[in-house]
Amino acid sequence: MSIMVATQGQVSVTGTTSVTNVAALRVPANSVGRNGHVEIKALVNFTNSANNKVLGIRWGTTAGATSGAPATFGTFNTAATAQVLAAYRNNNATNAQVSYNATTIVPFGSTANALSAGAIDTTVDSWINLDLQLALGTETIILVHAYAVVFPSS
């Protein structure tokens, strides 16, 4: 049975160009299993300009992390809203992940990039951290809503 964890209300970032954590969705210990996977879907609004706005989705051992792997990114500029999807899969072990290594704006497709790997211990609580970053601090990016769904498999 799948497990869903969602944000509660939108969070905006403006006035800084630093990477800012806006959500940490807890993945309960042992909920993923050796071959389970986690899907994260997010809706964002942002200033429509040529400057980059980035949503990073990281799986980490701590809540609020703004660095570390596995991580996937969506970079937005001359648009106003976006919907993205990221998927992380345990790779026949509870502490090894593999994921597609391309923009979360186009989550299905093919790329010349190698797959991304992670080493998060999923036998303890872990977190899907959603981080935002602006290239120009006077602009705005908003995480409107995000949810992670754990699809367990032993």
Binding site: M1, G109, A114, L115
Partner: protein
């Protein structure tokens, strides 16, 4: 409530060019329902070359099926990894399925092709068969991870 059936470890094809079954993920009889949905989520890695690598999903009453009961089908050449999604559902009866007829690496969009249809009896055990082939026998095609998620609907 969803039901997850996943692969356990990667599977690699090399040395032969015939279509080969990589995984047969069993859907227990009676789980889908008359209007339930099945998502097949796949992560692939392969030789980056001009030779074609083919990716196929087939839904059948038997494990290991190649050559018929298509759900999704596509080919790639000069990339190295891919993430795919195939979706099919029962069409208001337990023995008729329908799916979007296009590239599994672009599962949302429009198509001029008619939908794929199958007539698998889902009141009995059925199988999502994930197959592939390589045009160059010296190359490789790896199914890194796959998961079938069944969303039952009566």
């Amino acid at each position: 409530m969803s039901i997850v059936i996943a692969t356990a470890g990667s599977v690699t094809l090399t040395g032969i060019i015939a279509e080969t079954n990589f995984a047969a993920l069993r859907i227990p009889g009676g789980t889908i329902g008359r209007n339930g949905l099945v998502e097949v989520r796949m992560l692939w890695a392969f030789t980056n070359s001009a030779n074609s690598k083919t990716f196929v999903v087939r839904f059948a009453s038997a494990a290991g099926v190649t050559g018929f009961n298509m759900v999704a089908n596509t080919a790639q050449t000069t990339t190295a990894t891919a993430q795919g999604l195939a979706i099919f559902g029962n069409n208001n009866v337990t023995n008729a399925q329908v799916s979007f007829n296009t590239n599994m690496f672009a599962p949302y969009g429009t198509s001029a092709s008619a939908s794929f249809t199958n007539n698998v009896d889902t009141t009995a055990d059925s199988y999502v068969n994930i197959d592939g082939s390589i045009a160059g026998a010296g190359e490789t095609l790896t199914l890194t991870h796959a998961a079938v998620v069944v969303f039952p609907v009566p």
